[in-house]
Assembly symmetry: D2
Homo-oligomer: 338 residues x 4
């Protein structure tokens, strides 16, 4: 960490800064330039006390050098993590193809969609039982009943299942029925939920918040890892922007950005990112070409009757075509769908 001293700081202030640095267990390294004095702070800048330097009189700026996450970092683990979701491997060249409806609506409905996506090549089934809806008047999901249906349909089609958990009180219930937790964008910084999942024994699909930086995403992963659960798969799903023709803005550069600094797998969700079926296939191809560890797509056989997010779902035929494209691109970049 580096403290940049104000040009008008007094010598007494500088002495006090140095004192604080030592008091908090760091070593100061003073360097007087032509225009500014700077003080290097030697020691582990991740210590909580390090935050306070910005408030010491005379300090103009605090420049951080180290990344604030540890367990999620490439420095901590060089090799790519491979996360197991049921029998499916995610990461290290193995692509997760997660597909299914936005919400579980009935056994028959989900069974039909699962049959389609499984046949097309999807390897993980998704479906929401607890739905985070902007409006209190919108369909909120089937709850536990939906979890059971998801389990049954997953078993019937031999696919592991992933479903969203929104409330720390639901973690054990969801863990009982699903193979993987999903933490949605709105809950990426619901720290109590992350802590609870850190105690669980199932992997988690952690979606990037709508205004979260890549660093914020990795810090949220760090919460789960620090809690003892090593099985985190990240998911880029678009962030908010001024562009009003798509639901969100897909930040595909997050894929190589994460991979450079973390060993965790990262997949891409073009359905929520764009909200537009006409853009989803191109973005799924781009994700695989960029090195993503998988794609997450909403599929519905009758979007106009879906109770949630129908307009952004692909039809089964469109998903078949998407899978063909993804396989072609995967082989061009040395990855594979198991």
């Amino acid at each position: 960490m580096i403290l940049v001293i104000r040009p008008d700081a007094t010598e007494a202030q500088i002495a006090h800064v140095i004192e604080r640095v030592e008091e908090l267990g760091f070593r100061p390294h003073v360097s007087r330039g032509e225009q500014r004095t700077i003080i290097g702070v030697i020691g582990d800048e991740r210590k909580p006390q390090a935050e306070t330097f910005g408030a010491v009189p005379g300090v103009e700026q605090v420049l951080h050098i180290l990344k604030p996450f540890k367990l999620a970092s490439r420095e901590f683990q060089k090799a790519d993590s491979v996360v197991r979701v049921g029998k499916v491997r995610v990461g290290g060249g193995h692509l997760a193809m997660v597909a299914g409806p936005c919400a579980v609506e009935s056994f028959e409905g989900l069974d039909c969609i699962a049959g389609h996506v499984k046949k097309a090549g999807a390897n993980i089934l998704r479906g929401g039982a607890f739905k985070p809806r902007t409006s209190p008047y919108a369909f909120q999901g089937m709850g536990e009943e939906g979890l059971k249906i998801l389990r049954d349909v997953g078993d019937k089609h031999d696919m592991p299942v992933v479903t969203e958990v929104m409330d720390p009180r639901q973690v054990s219930l969801v863990e009982k029925w699903a193979d993987m937790f999903q933490v949605g964008a709105r809950n990426m910084q619901n720290f109590d939920l992350l802590k609870e999942i850190g105690q669980a024994r199932k992997p988690v699909l952690l979606k990037r918040g709508m205004s979260a930086t890549v660093k914020d995403l990795l810090m949220s992963a760090e919460y789960v890892l620090a809690g003892g659960n090593p099985d985190v798969v990240l998911c880029e799903r678009g962030v908010r922007s001024f562009e009003d023709s798509t639901r969100n803005m897909l930040d595909l550069s997050a894929v190589p950005n994460v991979k450079g600094q973390s060993h965790l797998p990262i997949i891409v969700d073009p359905s929520h990112a764009t909200g537009r079926p006409d853009l989803i296939p191109a973005m799924a191809r781009a994700a695989v070409a960029a090195g993503a560890d998988g794609v997450h797509v909403e599929v519905h056989d009758c979007p106009e009757k879906a109770l949630s997010d129908g307009p952004q779902a692909l039809l089964p035929d469109q998903f078949v075509k998407l899978m063909q494209d993804v396989r072609k691109l995967a082989s061009a970049v040395g990855a594979q769908v198991d």
Copy 2:
């Protein structure tokens, strides 16, 4: 709601759209223009089924006409709501001056700060016992112990107290000790938490999410109102933007924007919005001039030793000056600090 039909839609598709409109209990009103056919959908567009029209083949766009919230709207209640926090009124010309440290750290520390802010004119004491921190390694708050200290200090200085609640499981505990819940920006769309607070009998300070629109904020308020709790005070605290010299971008236009369409009080938090003590006083003045129902400011008597967010806190003397300015501006716009 209005459905814009694609220019290449077939007559059969148009007939099917009309059929769906009727099937879902709406009345269609067809209008054929030179370049597009549009179908007015007459009925309550807030019905959950209304979402699905975007997925019907042949529909190019769905245009919404009505606001998606009801109980929070000015149409529902014309007069400004006045929310009581302990004995303090907020709204309708009564300004909430909420001040205190970021986190409760000790009885002595909080007592000292409370003495300062009370004397300067603050009428609600704040202090966090449960802290949402980006890093799992940062100070997470004192928990229940902190709540008790907050209560005691509030009582000693005759100030109602507000504190953050992050987890639905903490709602009853926080309700026991505090006069007002705070829902932080990261939890604005933690819908299970909002539902739990909707069941409670204490008012809530609901902060705008970092990527939430004004409409999203009002929809989250609607969750609490729909649950049966009418006492919601909104808080603008800045949103994420590309500007990198302030922590967030304070959207002061949210104040008149909210007031035009909702009866709920709205206050402004320039501390979290800017993250810079040099900008806080000017933004507090601007908030009051814009018609805000109060200001929320972090104050610490020794920011360099604060365990959380020290660098953004005002010193007691700076807060005294801020209160003087606020009073002057309040009287210029016809508001008052009780």
Copy 3:
């Protein structure tokens, strides 16, 4: 266009709205719903007068139905435009691989870089002679001298050349020496410049502004097309966002988004979008997979001595690898580098 009437509008106001609609040469189509009256405005909503309806008393919202551009639209021209830059075709499956240094610095320097990129497979040479720099104290480019060097080196290596034009007064000079104009992000809405290029007879590479929507970009293309110059190639190069680990946020969804509504080719510039050589190759691959008509990359054989933007340039070896990847992906999606 649709006018939504305020719920509290008087009958006299509604009558006045209808009168204005007719006065401006449109036909009104009134529809009274349960909660709102709406008035369809039948006629060409691109007429300048149409803007004014929002100011008529009683009008709450104006909803637009048609796209505001014509010549750039797919409705105007179904087939993909193929733009010729010298002998190189761009669009319709032919990829532009534009490479070169940020700025022209000397004949020898550019000659060396051109040799590298040509050999690797680039088909258009880039290099700036007029540089838009945030700081007035930064290197501003070699001007006309740079244009001549660019021409000479392009001829020597048999590559057409593209270079930025910033000032309407430079258009004829740049047209004399270069094969293609570049309009940079900062000038995307420099309308006088666009008009001047509309009069020219060379193609233009039009970069998306840092806060421009896809619609804004197409409207700027419309300026050039409306001026009589049909040869516009668009370029996605990232927009501003809160993410602070990349220079901008690359919006790859703009590629299929543009292709759905326009016949114009669109290429992608991952160099300016990310500002990070470690992310450029992945984003180049993703661009081609998403259906882009080419890639624009900065290459320098000694980035640490480049006078402008050195840190974001690829080394020649990195570009060779990038070209190999791009060819592989191009063939997977049915495109080719001529």
Copy 4:
């Protein structure tokens, strides 16, 4: 400037970095921490060569310490600049109240509006003769004819006039007729235009670009100042954001933010920032309370017939009320409208 060295950098790389630092005329100051080596670069980091350090192998990050602008900085000039526009002073407690229609449409129309705003207390008249319009089919302004009308009306009402200039070729023409140039948001980084205005002898109102940071704005001011023209008034007019209920997001914190680091006056334009007459008065009040040196408001006596931006204009009566409020707030913060 500080160079952070990669943890895996070799000693040879570090030696090379040090060599480059010395070669470019700086002095290196090496500090080896527990986790990273950092190299302080002592000397004027505004030198163009300083940019290239990020490209030197082994360098992980370049941290800047100094502000990149000089003439615009408070360090260069401690006292507030007071800019004269005709006889009107702007800055140092003197508020510019700039008002008028979006575009000059006729002598009679402008004369009528000028009469209203002058009487209400505006001290500078605005009106566009050259209009930057997103669409090539929209009204582009009256050109020179409009400039003459503006001059005549300004003279008749004894008000200095400000009008937009978009093209470097128009600078001398505009200088002939107007008292102040306006550079619009879209041209804030039109550097050739800024250079031309730097040579002129009239003041300039420089509006913040829609995706410009405060630093970018000050750098553009630096272009004008470096060209020899000291009379720059900045204008905050909102930036692009995800909030879709206002045209832009007004960043009022830019006011104290600019004032802390620059001596230049800054005014606020709530008309373009919000695009909504219902929000403009509150934002004008907030601007003055925040310490702005004035307000810029569009006024039209018949917005529904305005050829440009009618829906965002205030009516004369609304402006009268706004001026009353502004005076009240100005006196509360120690400023005045002359």
